[in-house]
C-alpha cells in the first residue's frame, strides 16, 4: 500500500512500535477493532508479546488498562466486581472488578470455566454488567483483547462458537523474525521500553475518531460483495456452519475502520479481501470430514476470496 495513513493513527502505531518490533500488522488490526468498538481474540503460544502489545496500545491512547489473568478457579465476581458488607457504615459497598476499565487484557481466556468466560463475554456484548440487581455501565471506550493458547494445549476450556462470534477479529501473533528478536533483546537489556512510552491521543479524541469511522462510505457494490463472500461460506462444501449476518456486519465495519486508518473515506474491495480471513475464520465451523482431510478454515476463506468476482462496475438496478 502506498497510501498515506491517517496522521493520528500513524503516531499511535509508531508509539506501539517502540515496544513491539515487527508486529505492525497486528497493531494495525488491533486499532481496526478499537475504532469500531469491536474486540480482538489473539491466539498464540505464551511469551510472544501479547500482553505487551495490549499494554502499549492502552498507554498510547491514555486508556485505563486492566488485566485479568484467567485461571481455572477464577469466579465471575473476580471479573465483574463484588459487593462487600462494610460494618462501619452498615451497608454493602461495591468494589469494581477489573472489567471496569477501558482496555482489558483477558489473558488465557480459555483456561477458566465457561461460567467465568460468560461473565466477560456478556460485558463485551452489552457494555454493562449487572451485579446484585444494579447495572454498572462499563467504560467508554471499552475494548477487550482476549488471548488464548491454542486449544490443543492441556487444561483448557474451548470457547463456545456462539461466543467466538462476539470477537470482531481473531489473529495470531507469531514469532518475531530473527532480526527483530535480536532487537527485542537489545532493547530490554537495560529497561523495559513499555515504561518509557506516553499517550499520544486522549480518550475523547479516540471517541471522535470512532465517530468518523462510521462516516466512511460503503458503496452498494461493496456491500453486495461482502454478502456474496458470506453467502459462499454458507454454501461451501467443507463448511458445516457458515458466517452469520453478524459476520457480514463485522466485515463491513472492520473494512470501514481499515479504510479510515489508510486515510480513505470509502471502502475498497482490497480492504475486504485483506480483512476477510481475520473476520471470518473464527466464525466458520468446518465439517469433520474436512478437518480430517486437513482443510483449515483459513484455506476455505482464502479460496472463497480468490474465486468471488470483485465488483468492477456499478450495479445496474
Amino acid at each position: 500500500m502506498t497510501e498515506k495513513m491517517h496522521p493520528v493513527i500513524e503516531q499511535v502505531l509508531l508509539n506501539i512500535e517502540k515496544v513491539m518490533i515487527g508486529k505492525r500488522k497486528v497493531a494495525e488490526l488491533s486499532l481496526v477493532a478499537l475504532l469500531v468498538e469491536g474486540h480482538v481474540l489473539l491466539e498464540d503460544v505464551p511469551g510472544v508479546g501479547k500482553t505487551m502489545m495490549v499494554r502499549a496500545l492502552a498507554k498510547s491512547v491514555g486508556a485505563n488498562f486492566r488485566r485479568i489473568q484467567f485461571t481455572p478457579d477464577l469466579l465471575p465476581s473476580d471479573v465483574t466486581g463484588v459487593s462487600i458488607y462494610n460494618p462501619k457504615e452498615l451497608e454493602f459497598q461495591f468494589r469494581p472488578g477489573p472489567i471496569m476499565g477501558n482496555i482489558i487484557l483477558a489473558d488465557e481466556i480459555n483456561r477458566t470455566s465457561p461460567k467465568t468466560q460468560s461473565a466477560l463475554l456478556e460485558g463485551m456484548e452489552e457494555s454493562s454488567v449487572t451485579i446484585d440487581g444494579v447495572t454498572h455501565i462499563l467504560g467508554k471506550p471499552f475494548f477487550v483483547m482476549a488471548t488464548q493458547n491454542p486449544i490443543e494445549y492441556e487444561g483448557t476450556y474451548p470457547l463456545p462458537e456462539a461466543q467466538l462470534d462476539r470477537f470482531l477479529l481473531k489473529m495470531k501473533m507469531g514469532y518475531p523474525a530473527p532480526e527483530d528478536e535480536i532487537e527485542v533483546l537489545t532493547r530490554v537489556q537495560k529497561q523495559a521500553p513499555i515504561e518509557k512510552i506516553e499517550s499520544v491521543i486522549t480518550l475523547e479524541a479516540l471517541t471522535s475518531l470512532q465517530e468518523q469511522v462510521k462516516e466512511v462510505y460503503v458503496d452498494d457494490s461493496i456491500k453486495r460483495y461482502i454478502v456474496e463472500l458470506a453467502d459462499r461460506t454458507r454454501k461451501h462444501a467443507s463448511v458445516y456452519l457458515g458466517v452469520s449476518p453478524r459476520g457480514s456486519i463485522a466485515l463491513m465495519k472492520a473494512a470501514q475502520s481499515y479504510a479510515f486508518i489508510y486515510g480513505r473515506d470509502y471502502v475498497l474491495p482490497d480492504d475486504i479481501q485483506y480483512l476477510a480471513s481475520a473476520v471470518f475464520v473464527h466464525r466458520i465451523i468446518l465439517k469433520s470430514e474436512a478437518k480430517f482431510e486437513g482443510i483449515t478454515a483459513e484455506q476455505v476463506v482464502e479460496r472463497i476470496v480468490a474465486t468471488t468476482p470483485v465488483p468492477v462496475q456499478k450495479v445496474v438496478k
Partner: protein, 735 residues
C-alpha cells in the same frame, strides 16, 4: 430485490393500463361523431402497442410488430373481400402511392378511406409513444390529463356526444394516475429503493381521496348552466357580423324551378327532415338533364309517370347488375318536419316504405318520387332501403369517347349542351382532360379542377348572369366564386363538353349529426342550409356514380382498386407479353387505374427471379468477400480496435466517458492477454499491468476509477485529466 422488480413491473402495468383508459376516452367519441366504424380495431391496436411497450422488447422488434399489426388491420378492414394477403399488399402499396400524390396536391377529400385509417393508426402510434414517454420517463401526465378533459368537455358542449360519464371516468383515472406518478417521483427523489412498505401507506389515502372527491362532486347539487347552449349564440354572432341582408337575396332551400340560376343566398335554419343513417350519404330529390345556358330544365315534361306502391321495388336503375359494382344493403329512416310531396332517397335506392295508405309514382325524367297529383299526400315517416355501392375502378376506367357502347339516344341526352355555349368552355374542357385517356380519369380531373384552380365557395357575393351571359361561362372565367349550383353545373357542362354522359342532381347533404340513434344509426338533422346540388356521371357496364365538385363538400364514394378476377389478370399478362412493341400504352396509365400490370405480385416475383438468376453469382461473391473481410477484421482487431477506441472516446469530454473508457480498457487488456482474475481487485490487477508495461499509469487511472465506483463520486473534468493515461495504456494493447 426480485420482489421489488415484480413490484415495479406491476406498477408500470398499472400505469400503462390507466394510460390506455385515458387514450380510450379520446377514441370513444370518434365512433359516435364520425363515420368511423370498427373502432374496436383501433382500440385493439392501442392495447397491443401499449402491451408491446410494456414488455419492453427491442425497439426494432416493437416497430416491426406494430407495423405488422397496422398492415394486418388494414388488410382485414379493406381487402379481405376480394383478394389474398399478398395480392392486397401490392394494391395497398399502389394505394399508398396514389394517396401520396393526392397529399402532394393537397387534395385532402380525395384521400381514400384505407389511407385515412392508416393515418389514424399512425396518429395512435404516436399517442402511445407519448403516453409511454410521459408515464414512464417523465412521470408526469397532468398536461395530457387536462387536454383529455378539455377535449371531452368541448365535445360535450358542441356535439351530441354525452360526456357525463366520460368526465367522471377521466377524472378518476387521471387522479389515480397522477397520484401514482407522484408516489414514484417521491420514491425516486428520496432514493428509496424498496417502495413496498410505502405503497400501502400511499394507496389507501389516494384511493379514499379520489372516492371522497368523486362522491362529493357527484352528490353535490349542480347549478344549471348559465349559458345553456353556446352553439346558437355563436352562429348568431357569425350572422350579425356578416352585415344586413341586401334586397333581392333568396333564402337557401329546395326549389323546383332551376331554369334561372345565380344570385346570392341567405342561410335558413329551418329543419326539413331528420334522418337516421348507418352511413352518411347525400339525399337525392330529382335530377335534371337539359342545360339552357341559364339553368336547368327537364328534357321532357308531362311524361307518363310510373306508379308503384310502398315497399315495392322502386323503378330506378342506378347500377348495372354485373358485378362491377359491389353493393351492400342498408337502410335509412326519414322523419319529415316540413311538408313536401316528394321523397328523399340516396343513390342506389331499392325500396321506399312508409304509410301504406299512400301510393307513389316516379317521374322518370326527373327521377323524382312523389305522391301522385291525383291523390296527393305528405308522407311523414318512411324508411329507404338502398344499395351502398363500391365501384370497380377497372370497370370505371374501361370506357372513353371512342369506346363506350352506349345507346346513342341515351348518350346524347346526357351530353346535351346549348349550341351557343362559349367556345372557351369547350377549350377548357379539352385542356383539363387532355392527359387522361378514359372517362373516369377525365371526370376526376374535372372534379379536381375547381379546387386546384382556386375557385371560391361563397353564398353572398354571387353574380346573376346578364341576358347575354352564360351561367357557367361567367362562373368559370369571370367571377370564379359561387355555391354548389355553380360548381355542379359547371362540372356537368365541362364533362359533357368532354363527351362524358352526366346529369345534374338536386337534394340535400347528410346534414348535421344531432344524436346517436337506434342500432348503429346516427340521427341527423337536415335543414334548408343543407340543400345542395351535385353531379352524377354514367359509366357503361357500371351505372351512375356521384361526384362532388363543390369546394368544402365531400361525398365519399367507395372504389375498389381491384382486378375483377384472376382470369382477367392472366389475360392481361398475356396481352402484355404478346405486345412487347407497344410499351407506350403503359406510359399514360396512372398508378390509380389498378390495371397496371407492373405491380402485380407475379410480375414482381418474375422480376425478382430474373434479378436473382442474373446476379446470384456476383451476390454470392460479394457476400463471401464481405464475410471474409469481417472475419479478417475480427481476427486482426488488435491492430485497429485500440485506434478506433481512441478516436471513439476522444470525441467527447464528458466525465461519463471515463467510465466506459476504463471498462473498455479492461476488455482490451484481456484481449491482449492480461486477463484479470475473478477474485483480483482492480488495485492488484493494475499493479500487475503496471509491472508488465513498466509504467504507473494503470494504478493512477485505477485510483480515479475506484473513486467513482466505490466512493460514488465522479470528479469534475476527470476524463480530460485522465485521457492521456488512458491513451497510453490502450495504445500498449495494440498487437
Amino acid at each position: 430485490m426480485t420482489e421489488f422488480k415484480v413490484n415495479s413491473r406491476l406498477s408500470s402495468l398499472i400505469l400503462y393500463l390507466f394510460g390506455f383508459l385515458l387514450l380510450w376516452e379520446w377514441i370513444r367519441p370518434v365512433e359516435q361523431l364520425t363515420d368511423t366504424s370498427n373502432v374496436w380495431v383501433f382500440l385493439l391496436f392501442l392495447l397491443i402497442a401499449l402491451f408491446l411497450d410494456y414488455i419492453g422488447l427491442h425497439y426494432m422488434i416493437r416497430f416491426i410488430l406494430k407495423g405488422g399489426v397496422i398492415l394486418f388491420a388494414l388488410y382485414m378492414l379493406y381487402y379481405t373481400e376480394t383478394l389474398g394477403p399478398f395480392q392486397s399488399l401490392s394494391f395497398m402499396i399502389e394505394e399508398f402511392f396514389y394517396n401520396f400524390s393526392v397529399m402532394l396536391q393537397r387534395d385532402w377529400p380525395e384521400l381514400t378511406n384505407m389511407f385515412r385509417s392508416f393515418l389514424f393508426f399512425v396518429l395512435l402510434w404516436l399517442m402511445t409513444y407519448l403516453i409511454q414517454y410521459w408515464l414512464i420517463n417523465r412521470r408526469q401526465i397532468f398536461v395530457f390529463f387536462l387536454m383529455t378533459l378539455i377535449y371531452i368537455t368541448v365535445l360535450d358542449t358542441f356535439t351530441p356526444y354525452n360526456a357525463e360519464w366520460a368526465i367522471v371516468r377521466t377524472v378518476v383515472s387521471g387522479f389515480l394516475i397522477m397520484g401514482i406518478l407522484t408516489f414514484y417521483r417521491e420514491l425516486e427523489k428520496e432514493e428509496i429503493k424498496k417502495g413496498k412498505a410505502y405503497t400501502r401507506k400511499w394507496t389507501l389515502p389516494l384511493i379514499s381521496f379520489i372516492f371522497a372527491s368523486f362522491g362529493l362532486a357527484y352528490a353535490a347539487p349542480k347549478a344549471d348552466p348559465i349559458w345553456p347552449d353556446p352553439v346558437p349564440f355563436i352562429t348568431s354572432l357569425n350572422e350579425e357580423s356578416g352585415g344586413s341582408p341586401t334586397a333581392g337575396i333568396r333564402k337557401i332551400g329546395y326549389g323546383e324551378d332551376d331554369s334561372n340560376l345565380g344570385g346570392p343566398f341567405l342561410p335558413d335554419n329551418k329543419v326539413v327532415f331528420e334522418a337516421e343513417m348507418e352511413f352518411r350519404h347525400y339525399w337525392k330529390v330529382e335530377t335534371k338533364d337539359v342545360y339552357t345556358g341559364k339553368g336547368w330544365v327537364p328534357s321532357a315534361e308531362g311524361e307518363e309517370k310510373i306508379p308503384f306502391s310502398m315497399g315495392e321495388e322502386t323503378p330506378i336503375e342506378s347500377f348495372v347488375d354485373n358485378g362491377n359494382v359491389q353493393t351492400t344493403e342498408h337502410s335509412s329512416f326519414v322523419q319529415m318536419l316540413s311538408t313536401y310531396p316528394h321523397v328523399m332517397y340516396p343513390l342506389g335506392v331499392t325500396t321506399v316504405d312508409g304509410d301504406r295508405q299512400y301510393s307513389m309514382e316516379l317521374n322518370p325524367t326527373l327521377e323524382k318520387i312523389e305522391t301522385p297529383s291525383s291523390n296527393p299526400g305528405f308522407v311523414t315517416d318512411y324508411s329507404v332501403s338502398y344499395e351502398r355501392p363500391r365501384y370497380s375502378v377497372t370497370a370505371l376506367s374501361a370506357s372513353n369517347n371512342e369506346n363506350h357502347g352506349l345507346d346513342s339516344e341515351f348518350y346524347e341526352r346526357y351530353t346535351q349542351l346549348p349550341d351557343n355555349l362559349p367556345q372557351r368552355i369547350h377549350d377548357l374542357a379539352a385542356e383539363i382532360v387532355a392527359n387522361s385517356d378514359n372517362w373516369f380519369d377525365q371526370i376526376r380531373e374535372i372534379e379536381r379542377y375547381f379546387s386546384r384552380s382556386g375557385y371560391i365557395y361563397d353564398q353572398r357575393d354571387v353574380a346573376i348572369p346578364g341576358p347575354n351571359d352564360d351561367y357557367v361561362d361567367q362562373f368559370l372565367f369571370d367571377t370564379r366564386r359561387g355555391y354548389c349550383d355553380n360548381f355542379s353545373t359547371s362540372m356537368v357542362v365541362l364533362a359533357r363538353s368532354a363527351g362524358i354522359p352526366t346529369r345534374w342532381v338536386k337534394g340535400y347533404t347528410e346534414g348535421e349529426m344531432i344524436a346517436s340513434g337506434t342500432d348503429d344509426r346516427n340521427r341527423y338533422e337536415i335543414t334548408n342550409n343543407n340543400a345542395h346540388s351535385w353531379v352524377e356521371a354514367y359509366f357503361p357496364e357500371v351505372g351512375w356514380v356521384s361526384f362532388e365538385p363543390t369546394q368544402g363538400f365531400t361525398n365519399s364514394v367507395q372504389y375498389n382498386f381491384d382486378m375483377n378476377d384472376d382470369n382477367n389478370s392472366s389475360q392481361q399478362q398475356e396481352e402484355t407479353t404478346d405486345q412487347p412493341n407497344a410499351p407506350e400504352l403503359d406510359e399514360n396509365r396512372t398508378p390509380t387505374d389498378g390495371q397496371s400490370d407492373k405491380l402485380t405480385i407475379t410480375a414482381i416475383w418474375d422480376k425478382v427471379k430474373d434479378v436473382i438468376n442474373d446476379y446470384w453469382k456476383i451476390a454470392a461473391g460479394i457476400l463471401a468477400i464481405l464475410t471474409a473481410l469481417i472475419a479478417a477484421a475480427y481476427y486482426k482487431r488488435g491492430r485497429w480496435l485500440p485506434y478506433f477506441y481512441t478516436w471513439w472516446f476522444k470525441r467527447s469530454k464528458k466525465d461519463e466517458q471515463f467510465i466506459k473508457a476504463y471498462l473498455t480498457l479492461l476488455n482490451e487488456l484481456e484481449r491482449y492477454g492480461l486477463a484479470r482474475e475473478k477474485g483480483q481487485t482492480l488495485r492488484e490487477y493494475s499493479k500487475v499491468i503496471d509491472h508488465s508495461f513498466e509504467t504507473k499509469d494503470m494504478s493512477r487511472l485505477t485510483a480515479k476509477y475506484e473513486q467513482y465506483l466505490y466512493r460514488g463520486s465522479l470528479e469534475k473534468g476527470i476524463w480530460i485529466d485522465t485521457q492521456k493515461l488512458w491513451e497510453n495504456l490502450i495504445k500498449k494493447t495494440i498487437a
